[in-house]
């Protein structure tokens, strides 16, 4: 498992350039351009189960959901950040991508540290240090646990 480290204010244009917004929508179309202007070899080297460790205001900018779709599709287990931009945070819930807001864990990380997540307990272990993070409210966990918002909406429509 590799930890990919990025800094503060990584915006949606760096995660997925706007010029592709109206021509690439599916995960297959998105992946080749994922993080193109930030880390051009990321999409080739990333492996299922990898994590991102990021700074403040990750995902700021557009309401563009392709970065979330792409990161979920390449198998990112979770993004641990100092903080996330609002629309990106919401988009992650809607796609079932796990975001952990835990500045202490980000600051404690040293290269080569192992990072382990326990979602049930709301704990993240970085090297030999352990940190707590707030769990999502139950209403919102229902969306994530359904596999994302559309699956959740389908479930509710079927119940009607």
């Amino acid at each position: 498992m590799k930890v990919w480290r990025y800094g503060d204010s990584i915006n949606t244009d760096m995660l997925f350039p706007g010029k592709y917004t109206y021509t690439c929508s599916t995960p297959e179309e998105v992946i080749p351009h994922l993080l193109e202007d930030l880390d051009p070899t990321f999409h080739e080297e990333v492996k299922e189960g990898d994590m991102l460790l990021v700074g403040d205001n990750f995902g700021c900018g557009s309401s563009r959901e392709q970065p979330v779709l792409g990161l979920k599709a390449v198998g990112i287990e979770a993004i641990i950040g100092r903080s996330f931009a609002r629309i990106f945070y919401r988009a992650a819930i809607n796609q079932g991508l796990i975001l952990i807001e835990c500045p202490e864990a980000v600051d404690a990380y040293e290269p080569k540290d192992e990072v382990e997540l326990d979602l049930e307990k709301g704990k993240v272990r970085v090297g030999d240090k352990e940190f707590s993070f707030p769990k999502l409210p139950p209403q919102i966990l229902k969306i994530r646990d359904a596999g994302g918002l559309l699956e959740y909406a389908r479930m509710k429509l079927n119940e009607r």
Binding site: Y22, S25, L149
Partner: protein, 418 residues
């Protein structure tokens, strides 16, 4: 204890007596805005649309604006699918290519009203705070879900109170004001919060308030709202709209409070590649620009074009640069045409683009070459935003961009005639 604007609006919308920050409520938004991305949104829910249809044909507002007219077969096909969808489900509010940027169109057609809740699959949906609407951006998946179910969840945000004191000086505009505020509070300074503007707002036109609310998302706010006053009332009456305004109580509880003195503000710019990189124009006078751009939902209205025309009357755009003008809507373009504003811009050498998003997002029109630099009235200067990662974008007011177009280098608009 009193309530903030957003607490009142969300309580009313959720059918509750009161709501508290952090509480999650289910609401049925008054409108759902989508644009060219409608094609991708409906592409996610084909079978569900066949089976259930859409929740309410009155709710969606669809505006084709991002890549118009279509630039290639793919974008043309997207537009075609959207027109078919509109026809099939009887979507009441559809605006085809050429009407303008979605946010401008929504407000000028009287579709965003005081006290309403509007969500849209575009981050600048927060613009309607200018007319006392709670509006915020969502992603495409959520837009697809709302098309089907008509409802969504919102966490009641805390609120940041910004009080504006004094008055803007000559040559200083709403754009300079919001660039100054974002520079001070930072690009994440209002994260997950609603921003309320209080104080001396009576001289700020709806266009100016639009510029300010539009850029609320650049400090990551969930909404950026103004109170309803005589200015809002006159504007909405002209748009033929009724309204039920809402505003915060005097004893509302805020996350934080800030006071800004407008008289101290100066013509401002945001330097690459972050909107909170605030500098005054005076600090960087003489910086060369290859391209000057006036337009977008932030600053493409008649009053912005008029400001530019006042500066450019009888002048020529410098051979060292080029000036692109992209009106925010057909109606704003018509106003500029009827009083000669448009003529002045054309005679000065401006390239006038069809009303829409134009060069702002780098999908077509006005893309830069590596090493080039644009001075833009848009809202974002992210690396790669205008289609080239090795180019630079600086943000400024229409007056600063127009003054700069004359000389090809950064110019203080107060130094030319205004």
């Amino acid at each position: 204890m009193g309530y903030t604007f957003v607490e009142k609006v969300l309580a009313r919308k959720a059918g509750k007596k009161e709501v508290m920050p952090g509480q999650i409520v289910t609401v049925r938004p008054d409108h759902l805005l989508t644009h060219d991305n409608t094609a991708a949104i409906i592409g996610k829910i084909g079978p569900e649309l066949d089976r259930y249809g859409i929740a309410d044909p009155e709710v969606p507002v669809i505006v084709l604006d991002h890549v118009i007219p279509a630039s290639n077969e793919k974008t043309a096909t997207n537009h075609m699918r959207i027109r078919e969808f509109v026809e099939r489900f009887g979507v009441k509010n559809f605006f085809d290519v050429g009407e303008g940027v979605c946010h401008q169109v929504l407000v000028e057609k009287g579709l965003a009203l005081p006290g309403q809740v509007i969500v849209g699959s575009d981050s600048h949906t927060c613009s309607y705070g200018a007319v006392n609407t709670f509006s915020t951006g969502i992603d495409r998946t959520e837009a697809a879900s709302i098309l089907l179910t008509g409802e969504t969840w919102l966490k009641v945000p805390q609120t940041v109170k910004i009080t504006l004191e004094g008055h803007l000086g000559k040559g200083v505009s709403a754009k300079d004001l919001i660039l100054t505020i974002i520079g001070s509070l930072t690009a994440s300074g209002a994260s997950y919060k609603c921003v309320e503007f209080h104080g001396n707002i009576e001289r700020l036109t709806i266009g100016s308030r639009f510029t300010i609310s539009n850029m609320g998302v650049e400090m990551d706010s969930k909404g950026a709202v103004f109170p309803f006053d005589n200015v809002t009332e006159r504007y909405l009456k002209a748009a033929g709209a009724e309204s039920e305004p809402v505003w915060a109580d005097d004893d509302a509880k805020y996350h934080s409070e800030h006071v800004f003195e407008m008289g101290e503000m100066e013509p401002s710019i945001a330097t690459p590649h972050k909107v909170d990189n605030h500098r005054t124009v005076r600090e960087l006078l003489g910086l060369p620009f290859h391209q000057c751009f006036i337009g977008t939902c932030t600053n493409g209205r008649y009053e912005d074009l008029k400001t530019a025309a006042t500066i450019l009357k009888g002048e020529r755009v410098s051979k060292r640069t080029r000036l692109l003008v992209c009106p925010a809507s057909r109606s704003e373009l018509l106003k500029a045409e009827s009083d000669g504003t448009l003529n002045i811009l054309l005679e000065a050498g401006a390239v006038v683009l069809p009303p829409g998003c134009g060069p702002c997002l780098g999908a077509h029109q006005g893309v830069m070459a590596p090493g080039e630099r644009t001075l833009s009235t848009a809202n974002r200067n992210f690396k790669g935003r205008m289609g080239c990662k090795d180019a630079e974008i600086y943000l400024a007011s229409p007056a600063t961009v127009a003054a700069t177009a004359i000389y090809g280098v950064l110019t203080d608009p107060r130094e030319v005639k205004i």
